[in-house]
């Protein structure tokens, strides 16, 4: 019986947040399509983690010891074997570093069509429809998968709540031939633990390319200090070495949900928005009134930040006394 299969991304010994989002999306789709929802869990200890995937009907485990660490090629072999054996209607993968290594190769090897960068997925009369963002978020494309296919979901697109529903899924073990991984894990580098964990801060002042020169960071630092918050940045500034990696917000950085996110000189590229769009209060300062950041912000100030930042810092200081 055709099923919706979710690839459950692991983070060491637990499940990644995005897995619950996939399950939530998968649950909705499987109900609309009238089929089961399965979750594929790879690596040693998979059986033990299965209980965390309550929203799935069945958890398919492949516990090959060679896959203790995620390796692209090895995991792909298992995934391909699972897809060949179970012929799912739809395979759901996360659009993450792991997912990107799996989705396209899987599509090529199985001959299934692939839709990447999905923001929404639903079913209409037995047809799976995906809405994806393309061209840096400037356009959206809606595609239909009338028959079997693969979809890659962007993290943060779907609420994870439904995916965390408790339940007791069946556990099945996949019989796979031993994996011959042509890519092997060697070592892992954690980013240097900085003084500040921006994911725990209530107030963040985020700075982007609009700040101009490095020395102007002091304007931002003063404001952050006055507000009692921390400074974070978009990718370009971290790449240039102006701030350490542990301050980077975005798709390849950290995801933050502070009470206040003050985005200064940030245009609002999709990769950055992914990292902060769920913040409680978003205020954006930019000279370009058409910058995409204003689409997610609650309040905006169209001004030169060299005028606005000092004014705001002063106003905050005065109000705080």
């Amino acid at each position: 019986m055709a099923e919706v299969m979710v690839f459950a991304e692991r983070q060491g010994d637990s499940l990644a947040e995005v897995t619950y989002e996939l399950l939530a999306a998968g649950r909705q789709l499987s109900e609309a399509l009238g089929c089961e929802l399965s979750a594929l869990l790879v690596g040693p200890g998979a059986g033990g983690l299965a209980s965390g995937l309550g929203s799935a009907d069945v958890v398919v485990c492949a516990e090959d010891p060679q896959l203790a660490h995620f390796t692209p090629d090895g995991t792909l072999q298992v995934l391909e074997a699972a897809v060949q054996e179970r012929s799912p209607r739809l395979v759901l993968l996360p659009s993450t570093s792991q997912g990107l290594d799996l989705a396209a190769p899987l599509a090529a090897r199985t001959g299934l069509p692939l839709v990447a960068y999905c923001r929404e997925l639903w079913a209409e009369d037995g047809v799976v429809v995906a809405r994806s963002q393309v061209y840096g978020g400037k356009l959206m494309v809606e595609v239909a998968l009338p028959e079997r296919g693969i979809a890659c979901l962007l993290p943060g697109s779907v609420s994870a709540e439904a995916g965390r529903a408790p339940g007791t899924p069946r556990v099945e073990f996949l019989s796979v031939p031993a994996v011959s991984a042509r890519a092997r894990f060697r070592q892992r580098f954690e980013p240097e633990a900085g003084d500040v964990d921006i994911t725990r801060e209530d107030i963040l002042v985020a700075v982007g390319r609009g700040i101009g020169d490095r020395e102007n960071l002091s304007l931002v630092e003063e404001l952050a200090e006055a507000l009692g918050g921390a400074v974070c940045a978009s990718r370009p500034l971290v790449d240039s070495g102006w701030l350490p990696k542990n301050r980077q917000v975005g798709k390849s950085g950290l995801v933050v949900k502070p009470k206040l996110y003050l985005a200064v000189g940030i245009s609002g590229a999709p990769e950055h928005l992914e990292g902060m769009k769920d913040s409680e209060l978003i205020v954006a300062v930019n000279t370009d009134a058409r910058a995409p950041i204003f689409d997610v912000a609650h309040y905006g100030v169209v001004a030169d930040l060299f005028d606005f930042l000092p004014a705001l810092t002063e106003a905050v200081r005065q109000r705080k006394g």
């Binding site: 101009g212 020169d213 490095r214 020395e215 240039s240 000279t287 060299f306």
Partner: protein
């Protein structure tokens, strides 16, 4: 007067010194000839005449350090005279013919020699005291400036040797006259020597005789001994400075050399640049006017020339025989300094001996780019944007004409319609939001005056001026070829621009591609409109302002009076900046610097705002789009917000003639 033995000894000394000197001079010529380029054969009578006037009138020295120029004049005139004097003394030594106590022509000769000798001594004493007692800051280099080891000590030593030589040579000769007059009685045509001779009157005749011979030997012997020292000394400028001045600089000043592969080593430079090292007097005037050096950077045009010279001094034999030298960025100028140059050409303008260190720098940049050494990613990104979109902002071409949308009239498309004035707008005037307002103001003025003008819209590309100065000759060609194609197809009488960089390219640089375009700066054009009555002043501005001359307008293209005429006509009271007209101080944007990452420390534009603040004015008038952005920023970052406002000259004109300007800068 000399004994036979003395004559023989002298001739032997002369032969030895001349031979030794000849070797050195031959090596110097061979070294210079290693550089490429031809020797101009045209207009030598005019060149020599012009140089003679330049040198005798001290025109190039008079630009800065005027007291120094006066004392140098003493020495120069003394030395010029001493050619005659030394010959006459030589003749006297060998034939006994003495010019003393004679009247008429000889009398004048004696008087001149007498006075000039003393002036030379005074002058030389002044220079030695100035260098060793007062120690002006100019002689020091910024800490990060690359210097060959021993250069500073070498310069001091050289100064002492030359100073000593002049003092002893002139002093000895003059003392010799005093001794002679002590024996023969005073000479009314040599009052100063005669005065000193009274000290020696009463000395035994023998002693005076010895004195005469001794001073003769010291005076002429020092000349002989000094001859082989020339190749190692900055004093060789005696010969090479006038030569350098006679050869002149590229005309027009705004035009760079034809593009080759640039230079990494001394021998790959044009021979004129090697000659520069020998003409250099190591006075550091160029460093004093360099915006990079004056804001603490590692660039010193003086250090560049001095390092070249010292390298040549130390390796002359091998170099003159064709041995390869190390890349210049290893000993003469650091890579950081190469990229710090704004190509403002102040160093070229101020140099008393006609050197052009800036041209070396552009050659080195070409080679560095060739080898992929781009100083920072900002510049690289801009070069890519220029190549892709034809502008440094990375905006698509079709946005070029967007600034016209704020106007209540249509601006003609010069690609399709005939126009009288083709306005070449330029990147900053087209795309920078602040400057766009000025551009619209200029458009309104032209419209109000009934000028038939148009722009090239998407057809326009960056003129390529700064791309060339960054060392990207290929990119310059691509941009220029495109602009030329469009200009050739258009029908117009004159090209107008608000951008001095574009003006320079269109007027001067495009000649390398076979086009001489008639280009006028908007200040010249607006002034003309006022003079013709097509614009009329209805409300004089009545403000005290200062005006900043843009480098590419004032120094490169000698347009200084039109903006001033404009300011006068609109009723503004102009208080001149201390450094004005061709002595203007660069804002720091040129040479691609505006495309590079900012460095810590004071910016040239901030320094300039501070200079303006001392004048007691609150309005800083500019006539260049990049100046507008640089100074608007500088007012904020230097802390003068609210006390100084930056205004384009067009805004003042608009106010005066009653045309609504976009934003009238108010304090």
């Amino acid at each position: 007067m000399l004994t036979p033995l003395e004559r023989v000894l002298f001739l032997a000394l002369a032969a030895g010194c001349l031979a030794y000197a000849a070797v050195g001079f031959r090596q110097v010529f061979a070294a210079i000839r290693r550089g490429h380029g031809g020797f101009p054969r045209d207009r030598w009578p005019q060149r020599l005449a012009r140089t003679a006037v330049q040198v005798l009138a001290h025109q190039t020295l008079w630009r800065t350090r005027r007291p120094v120029a006066v004392f140098h004049a003493f020495i120069l005139f003394a030395f010029t005279d001493y050619f005659l004097v030394n010959v006459a003394d030589l003749v006297e030594g060998f034939t006994g013919f003495s010019a003393a106590h004679r009247g008429g022509v000889w009398g004048i000769y004696n008087l001149v020699a007498d006075v000039l000798s003393v002036l030379a001594l005074v002058g030389m004493t002044y220079f030695l005291v100035r260098r060793f007692v007062f120690r002006p800051k100019s002689f020091r280099f910024n800490p990060q400036v690359m210097l060959l080891p021993g250069v500073e000590a070498g310069i001091r030593r050289d100064s002492l040797v030359v100073g000593g030589f002049i003092l002893f040579h002139v002093g000895s000769r003059w003392l010799g006259q005093a001794f002679k007059l002590a024996a023969e009685g005073p000479d009314p045509w040599q009052p100063l020597a005669s005065a000193v001779s009274t000290l020696f009157v009463g000395m035994p005749e023998q002693a005076l005789e010895v004195g005469v011979h001794a001073t003769w030997w010291v005076a002429l012997g020092l000349i002989l001994l000094f001859l082989p020292y020339f190749p190692r000394s900055k004093h060789i400028h005696l010969f090479f400075a006038p030569l350098n001045l006679a050869l002149g600089l590229p005309q027009p000043p705004g035009r760079l050399e034809a593009d080759g592969k640039g230079a990494a080593r001394l021998e790959e430079l044009p021979w004129r640049r090697i000659l520069d090292a020998y003409a250099c007097i190591m006075c550091n005037r160029c460093q004093d006017v360099c915006p990079a050096h004056q804001t603490g950077r590692s660039l010193s045009p003086a250090a560049l020339e001095i390092n070249k010279r010292y390298y040549l001094n130390r390796h002359l034999r091998e170099f003159s025989r064709g041995a390869p030298s190390p890349p210049l960025w290893e000993y003469a100028i650091s890579v950081d300094a190469v990229w710090a140059c704004t190509t403002c050409s102040a160093c070229v303008h101020v140099c008393p001996v006609g050197n052009a260190p800036m041209l070396d720098i552009v050659e080195i940049r070409k080679r560095l780019l060739e080898e992929g050494v781009v100083p920072d990613t900002n510049l690289q990104e801009v070069l890519v944007k220029l190549g892709k979109y034809g502008n440094s902002f990375g905006k698509p071409e079709r946005q070029r004409g967007q600034w016209t949308k704020g106007l209540p009239f249509r601006v003609k498309d010069a690609r399709r319609e005939t126009v009288d004035v083709l306005w070449f707008v330029g990147d900053y005037a087209s795309f920078d939001p602040r400057v766009q307002e000025v551009t619209r103001t200029v458009a309104r003025l032209l419209h109000h005056a009934g000028v038939d003008f148009g722009i090239l819209y998407e057809g326009e590309r960056n003129s390529g001026n700064d791309a060339r100065r960054v060392g990207e000759a290929g990119l310059f060609e691509v941009l220029a070829e495109h602009n030329i194609r469009l200009l050739d197809q258009a029908t117009y009488r004159v090209i107008l621009t608000t951008d001095p960089h574009s003006l320079n390219a269109l007027r001067n640089e495009y000649q390398a591609l076979g086009r001489r375009y008639p280009v006028v700066h908007y200040t010249e054009f607006l002034l003309q409109l006022l003079e013709e009555g097509r614009l009329k002043v209805v409300q004089p501005v009545g403000r005290r302002v200062t005006y900043h001359d843009p480098c590419y307008l004032a120094r490169y293209n000698r347009v200084t009076e039109a903006p001033r005429g404009l300011l006068r006509r609109v009723g503004a009271e102009l208080v001149e900046m201390p450094r004005n007209r061709e002595n203007t101080f660069c804002c720091g944007a040129g040479g691609g610097r505006i495309w590079m990452r900012e460095e810590p420390g004071e910016r040239p534009s901030e320094s300039r705002i501070r200079e303006a603040a001392t004048l007691g004015v609150d309005t800083f008038v500019v006539a260049c789009p990049k100046d507008y952005t640089m100074y608007t920023d500088a007012v904020k970052t230097a802390g003068y917000e609210g006390r100084m406002v930056v205004c384009d000259v067009a805004e003042l004109v608009a106010q005066a003639v009653g045309v609504r300007a976009e934003v009238l800068a108010q304090v």
